[in-house]
Symmetry: C2
Subunit: 207 residues, 2 copies
Amino acid sequence: MINKNNIKKTELGPSAMLNPVPVIMLSCRGTGKENSRGNIITLAWTGTVNSEPPMISVSVRKSRFSHQLITESGEFVVNLVDRKLLKACDFCGVKSGRETDKFTECKLTPYYCAELKYAPAILESPVSLLCKVKQQIELGSHDMFIAEIVSVKADSELIDSKGKLMMNKAGLAAYSHGEYYALSGPIGFFGFSVARPEVLKRRLRKK
Amino acid sequence: MINKNNIKKTELGPSAMLNPVPVIMLSCRGTGKENSRGNIITLAWTGTVNSEPPMISVSVRKSRFSHQLITESGEFVVNLVDRKLLKACDFCGVKSGRETDKFTECKLTPYYCAELKYAPAILESPVSLLCKVKQQIELGSHDMFIAEIVSVKADSELIDSKGKLMMNKAGLAAYSHGEYYALSGPIGFFGFSVARPEVLKRRLRKK
């Protein structure tokens, strides 16, 4: 029970305080020969924005090398990040692809899928979302790219015998207020607050 | 070390597979007398989209009651969700505000701030982001509201002696593939992959 009398609020001013947020490695490539090697940028300013069709937004500063590559090609891949990828993920967030070949430096493997013409996915990521840009909106410090997810590739070892993705086995990381976190739990499922006792029992027994 | 030869991929088709994502309780209110009581909708389709000025996007189906209230007022509050709020959070995701007074039903307290004219914040949320809509974009199943964060209110007990928000003490929940998770860790901080040994030591000692 929350004691309302004890709740005092402090004003923090305007800031981007949504937490936790996803942390992803966006892979992309330019269309010309001079940008023919793939690049990776780490982003937390991303979110699902639509269900049908599935769409995602990613926000990138204009000054970033990847901004140019995404604008050129109209494509990118959102690669989810597990614990094994976390150091590479952090590295790709602090180094620029103008000077660094991040795939080589991080010992990561680009792979190409039929659905996209330019952008490679990262083989070592457990789940990759192949995306085609639909809109680009200037917001200030960042441009937001709104893209349709045209395909998802997942590690086959994460697929159960019924063909269902076991996302809870992927060991994904989250980002909150400057720090990376693992997920612990689960502590509930969508609809648990109104679930019938037998459903609660079945879902909890599965864990 | 990842053995690349063992990585096989399964095609899952297009779907909204970004994970983990935030889970938030959006509070809002209409401008007319008939919608004068506050409403709450639970959302996972949200993300930070800009840093300067701080901006957030939330995607809401047109059919939802809150869609109407946000469109009317041009305002909403994004309330972060901790473990204590999780059951109410889930409940607000499965019930409609057309039939249910969610503040009353969940024993939550609306509070009003000078920065917004209509939308209340949720007193029991550890951190609330007060938002003013700047753009509304139709994407298909959902409309995306892009809003500027005009103020952030946090529980005073989460503020340290230097005035810094201790977000890691808030006990926030994340959402991944239909399940709610607590955060476990932290397992790194932004820049840890290139941090000098003395910085690593200092940051790790703090935990």
